[in-house]
Symmetry: C2
Subunit: 260 residues, 2 copies
């Protein structure tokens, strides 16, 4: 069988342990092309660099060319890779492995997920992968193995246009993982709090803090299944119109401006 061409990006930066573990595992079975941000880009959401130029530099690791380091966001990296840097069009885009889970609607803030979104928008089957731990020293091996297992499955999965996979892996030893679960997303949200402090010159500043409030849901929801030590796979699409409510507000089409 012909080896798959896989484009890999992430949001923790090209020098992070997560992308290294992922690429190491994928290179056993596929041709891997890496284009990733030159520094951490967490919480950049679906940002795009349009008012400044991008630089792409070859990045070496263990004495070998590892991939291209780009002065931009995950979205920039995937767009630039597909349109300009890749010699062959990728069969799959994989973004990750992120330090920290990307679950619930908090994926709206996720650079990792936006990398997979860009792949999908370019018409390429795509997957985001995250580990449920923010610890920089977490073992990424198990997550990398699951990422590879699922990536190899993608060509047979008939992922519909406009849909991609968002994968989260529990941060536990391999034998404690209960299996894979196809999920929807919880409705957990951050309860915002800003710490108000004064700088050394006595001027006020604010710093984002806050608390993650897990919503209750059934065992098919991502936060819930992940907490039960399942690898979660959420097929995401952006059919974001609330079609039901759209029908209910037809009457606003009758509104007219007053003669003010």
């Amino acid at each position: 069988m012909k080896k798959l061409n896989i484009l890999v990006s992430n949001d923790d930066g090209i020098d992070s342990p997560g992308i290294y573990a992922l690429v190491h595992e994928l290179r056993k079975v596929a041709n891997v092309f890496v284009v990733a941000p030159d520094r951490e880009q967490s919480a950049v959401g679906h940002s795009l660099t349009i008012y400044s130029p991008l630089r792409a530099t070859k990045f070496h690791r263990d004495g070998e060319m590892f991939g291209y380091s780009v002065t931009g966001t995950p979205s920039d990296c995937v767009k630039l890779a597909i349109s300009s840097l890749c010699e062959v069009r990728p069969d799959i885009v994989v973004s990750g492995i992120n330090h920290g889970p990307n679950t619930s609607i908090n994926i709206l803030y996720s650079g990792t997920v936006s990398g997979a979104t860009e792949g999908m928008l370019s018409g390429i089957p795509s997957m985001a992968v995250s580990l449920d731990s923010h610890d920089y020293n977490s073992d990424m091996t198990v997550a990398a193995k699951y990422a590879s297992l699922l990536a190899m499955q993608i060509p047979d999965m008939n992922i519909p246009d406009g849909t991609f996979l968002n994968v989260n892996v529990p941060a536990v030893p391999e034998e404690e993982i209960k299996g894979i679960r196809v999920v929807h997303h919880n409705k957990s949200v951050w309860k915002d709090k800003y710490l108000k402090r004064n700088d050394p010159f006595g001027r006020e500043y604010f710093w984002f803090s806050g608390e993650y409030i897990k919503s209750e849901d059934n065992a098919e929801a991502d936060d819930t299944a992940l907490h039960q030590n399942y690898v979660t796979v959420n097929p995401i699409h952006y059919d974001i119109t609330n079609h039901e409510y759209k029908k209910q507000i037809k009457n606003i089409e009758e509104l007219r401006l007053g003669n003010s």
Copy 2:
């Protein structure tokens, strides 16, 4: 009737004509509190500033306090406003008026829309408003009037939890606007292109370019209706799991790691 308390933000920056026209119009009928970025934040998507502090400074216009200028993104502004700066909890959040349309799934990149998303995530009825013109000198008056008309309607619209309104206004004289249309989003996407150039030192750089490819759809889709001179109202929600496809891939739950 008690005056509504409206929080206004945007992504073009607190000194842009769009937010000025919007606030001017809304202040005729509501209490308006402005918290907006200190500079243009277009294409920041749903970015959040978490690794640096935020500053909020009083910003004056025409000799009066206009609002708070914040060193962050639209998401930062709305989060900071609701949690820390607003004296009363807003009844409504309005983000805009943006220079340039926010239609199709390109709203994923939109700072303007992310401002409304944050309001919604905080449980407040929210609306994003954009004008279909990138011209800095466009007349914002008509768009501001429609924004006000719709904002005053919001308390009676029973917007469901998790849903907000994305409004686009044609850039034509008032009498040429055909009315309001409730829409879903087109599937138009940008065809990516990066210009490859050399800097004055001969080093290569890339700059995002590309072309907006409008998809065909019916008269109830945003790009299409906007082009026909309708004010479009898309009720957006982030129920982004593809539930249909989720059922189809249940079989991947049987996958197991090999003994590699």
